[in-house]
Symmetry: D2
Subunit: 363 residues, 4 copies
């Protein structure tokens, strides 16, 4: 129960430290005969990889994925798919100077408290590098969902206090195109420009800034998600909160919904003769934990990255006051690279719940 596995039927287990030989993931439960597009998996990893623009960390990793098992003649075999991503740029010595001090708002102290010692090279297992394995697995989940027409899209909806307007009703390829036109991955060009300027300034200050990512899921059929504990939004929430630096999650009306009255919040059903749909969507596409066929949407809040270029007071492993030097490579703002992580985790939840729904009824 050490918590490196996610999902029930579409189940992934990740492994690897930021400065060991490799990180990777095993996917157990991918149905057989899924066409696996390796170029797509790599293109997803490329969106997360470090060094992709001036507003991300300058650490260099090609993040090239290798398939070890589970794919034969271009298709999943139904047996475990093992994917390996070798670590290339692991300058462990960059971290020697901080070996015994607890970096503020990192996991150094808590790992020591838990395990009695830790792999101190660059965060070890607590490094966000682990999320590359999730992105690789999430890419396969996306391929599975695409077979059912389900599509997932996320973009940066806020950097610091700069908020993007609500997404217009475009299709996923249009949204993707708009998003990839700028390095901050915000669909709205004007907001993107402001965000990039903000991050440029933050970087020059040797500081970091938080942000938000909004995600939507299109064409999810009604009936996905389990009632009670494994509600679809509860699984999505856990998935998002398991991403490094995430401090908040809301879906549908979210925190604003807590200020509303039932008479304005209720989503009234209408029908065009076929399946019911709702006029408003404060429910965020989920009612009673189960998808209702409307667009699913949620927002994730990221705290600022803890590694900054300032010297900071702290405590060392011996319990003495100490100072940590501001050096190394880091992201001034994590959200542009995290967009694809949010999508990957959403895809993993949806793929899992989709498979779980296959046994809802007899026959």
């Amino acid at each position: 129960m050490a918590g490196n596995t996610f999902g029930q039927l579409f189940k992934i287990s990740t492994f690897g430290e930021s400065h060991g030989p490799a990180i990777g993931v095993i996917i157990d439960g991918c149905p057989a005969q899924l066409n696996i597009d390796l170029d797509f998996i790599q293109s997803e990893l490329d969106k997360r990889k470090p060094g992709q623009s001036r507003i991300t960390t300058q650490r260099k990793e090609s993040d090239t994925v290798q398939v070890l098992s589970g794919i034969f003649e271009g298709k999943s075999t139904g047996t475990p798919i093992a994917l390996l991503i070798p670590n290339e740029d692991h300058r462990s010595k960059d971290y020697e100077h901080n070996k015994d001090v607890y970096r503020p708002s990192h996991a150094d102290y808590t790992y020591d408290a838990k395990y009695g010692f830790r792999d101190h090279r660059g965060g070890g297992r607590s490094s966000a590098r682990e999320t590359a394995a999730r992105v690789a697995a999430g890419a396969i989940a996306k391929l599975l969902l695409k077979e059912q027409g389900i599509e997932i899209f996320a973009h940066v909806s806020a950097v610091g206090k700069i908020n993007a307007p609500n997404l217009e009703d475009l299709n996923i390829s249009e949204l993707l195109e708009l998003r990839e036109e700028n390095i901050v991955r915000c669909v709205d060009p004007a907001t993107a420009k402001q965000m990039i300027e903000c991050i440029d300034g933050i970087r020059k200050d040797g500081d970091t800034i938080g942000g938000k990512i909004s995600c939507l899921i299109k064409n999810c059929p009604a009936g996905i998600g389990e009632p009670v504990f494994d509600k679809l939004h509860a699984d999505l929430g856990k998935a998002m909160l398991s991403i490094n630096a995430v401090h908040g999650f809301e879906y549908g009306s979210g925190f604003t919904g807590s200020e509303m009255r039932g008479s304005e919040h209720n989503d009234i059903f209408i029908t065009d003769g076929e399946t019911p749909r709702t006029i408003t969507n404060f429910s965020g596409g989920i009612q009673g934990g189960i998808s209702n066929g409307m667009e699913i949407n949620f927002t994730v809040a990221f705290k600022p990255v803890a590694t900054i270029m300032h010297n900071q007071q702290t405590v060392n492993a011996a319990g003495e006051a100490s100072e940590i030097k501001g050096k190394g490579r880091h992201d001034p703002c994590v959200v542009p690279r995290a967009v694809v992580i949010v999508e990957a985790m959403a895809a993993l939840v949806l793929a899992d719940q989709l498979l779980r729904s296959k046994t809802n009824r007899v026959g």
Copy 2:
């Protein structure tokens, strides 16, 4: 994988519909030799039960808990603890009129979409009545945590747009006393008064209103929580999002943290010669998914209850436009009764992660 089980080592499975003979819970994994105070369990249930004040639903249920197994001579035996809560006031006929129509923002339609039919009596399994079983199990989790000195406290921090000031640094018994002095369960008496007035007005309008509950956990030792997917706050988030009507979760700095800079958000470590502590607590007591020994805190957003006393347009199971009548019994605002549900779910997460931490290290 039908999702009625929560937890890995301290594991609960709930069952029962709102209008069947009973609801209940099995706790599998409670360590042996825990002193079980049945009066405490009942007192927790009393805080959730309907009809306890004028601002809650007038449905009458004594919610008397019965022990079926797992407790012998006042102690847990290590075998499954089964707790039963008979349903008393199940006027199923109250729901006959709505049998074939989909109540807006309820789970009627999604259950039908998932299962092909449903137990339509009062929400069946999707009814918040299910949470009584969680409260009973959570009470036992609290008893287990108390043996380690860990205490959990929640109160109503917002009703609609009325927000309570931040909690003062009182101990848990002082906070509990303040909270139970008013029917809305907000620690601040002045805010509580405003909240009650607000709810009174809402009730007279036949309407409902959302709100927020804030929770804190004291004396959690450092080292609790698993890295990667089962981060302590990810498990807390899932637990909270699994409660009916919850639309958002944030911990520590939460959504506000996404607007901050790293230099202001980082929690600087200090020490008095013993264990490290932090000056600020934007981390909410959790770093890298693992408790750091500071107070854990989080906030949960509840949407307004969907049952209102207004007639509403909707669609029926045959796909025809229909109208739903505004009658029945309901809560104008769910948060006063939900305080103990939030505490129960937090206790279940902590008890589970506490047991999981027993195998962190050899020896």
Copy 3:
């Protein structure tokens, strides 16, 4: 992880002690819209219940099953099915005299070693009474399997050294009819007669005797079972070994197969133009852990019941030499009542693996 749950998708959790108010089971994951025949469930329980013939224990229990949830208008709803079986004849005082002594080959000592104390009334949780809950759940699994045409049959194939001839190739209803014609539940009337005489003698001696149960599963389609750890026969083996008093499990050629050559053991494939079948069936219907469409068969060995009517030397909880008195009620031979337990556990495994197979392939 306290081990009171069985199955992954068709998942049961049992609870209850032999001398508490009730035992019971929650089934989570039964697909919706299964027709639930309560009379069938009760008739299965009747085959396990004590006091049904002179060769079983004379303890009297009607074992009447109550439905608490998950069934609505005669069908499963997809939510947890909770079944309760009240304990009627719990003469706890029968056990007072043995409260502090460890009964030989019972679980008294090991429960104390594990938990530090135990519910000593009649074996508590270690009592075979717990298997009534399995039979109730297994009956529902059988109903699910029957929808797919899968049928399960077990009978007593040995009492002590008296072995029945191999089963003739009859259909399940014929086998059932033959089996229920005698109180020992052996299909072969001549062997049954010998077995009953043997048990009668054993009972008069105040002693007990072991035996074997053989089980077959008809019409299981090819492709059921997971490779590697959750092989179909591995799950069946675990299921059987979890039944009280079971000391051995073999399938197909079993222990005898270990003495054979590959050239005689290999099951040669033939075909009549449709699906492949094999001439012999040393594989017991399972190859590589996956059903091959042939009849599945296995045998289970039960040790003699530990409760005998002789005084025995033993040790008490204080570590002193002690004596245990031979009194109380017991089964001279457990296999006649265990036939339906074997079937129930087999049905639970098959139902679980059948549901798991629903996600083998895309589409």
Copy 4:
């Protein structure tokens, strides 16, 4: 739920096909600070590797293990340990000729029936090569158990009808020394000689033969194992039955116990003033599913290897009668190499149940 994961707290997930680039395993849940002796892991793999003697398959694999994560400065870190074993001798073309025919008593047909196609190179995932990953993981489990003094030993107790005498009461290192003195891995030298002669003859015939392995576990403290479904022997049984070619499992008195009377089978407790022990050990060290402090023992039956050097009639994927040619490399008898697999699986069960027992009681 695709079944490539084993264990609850000490949890392994294996991956890889016999003819892909590598096989491997992730261990999630190994406690931190365990000293990891890589030479020991390799020496265990060497006992399983092909080509080690004239009575094993002549396929050449060095089975060199690589550590990808989870070990730092010689100790487990508490995070996932990933071990990789590259495949070296994968002459896939050896299998081209059998690509479309179903080898008798292999998993070719059942994989096709389950997944619609398969990786046909050398058995793919159904190959016993997968067990190398188990041996590597089992070696780490053994290191964990050794810290508690628990030791595991298995040897070949039968080849065909040649049975070894019962093990004399030697300590584990004496037994190991005796066992490794001959290539068939039977402790008794005279029997070993007969067994080797038998296998030599079988090999010359191009045939194969079954056998049995007996295993004992010393110094397991009382109290390990969970009652009801996860009984210690049920977990051991499942573990053994999940090994390729295993058709039977018995513990303690086993199948012979089913012929005994209670008065002879009951293990009478005695005491020397300290903990109780039993005079006989028909219980095999386990009572009510929980270890009682006595030696644990069990026996596993292996069918003969299905690959033989004879031509055999069969059916192909098109449903036509076909013939399979007797060529390739294979083991004439699998048990000498399987001894260490049995030990590994036993170690994984014990390590898992040992960790599970850490939360039996409060405090």
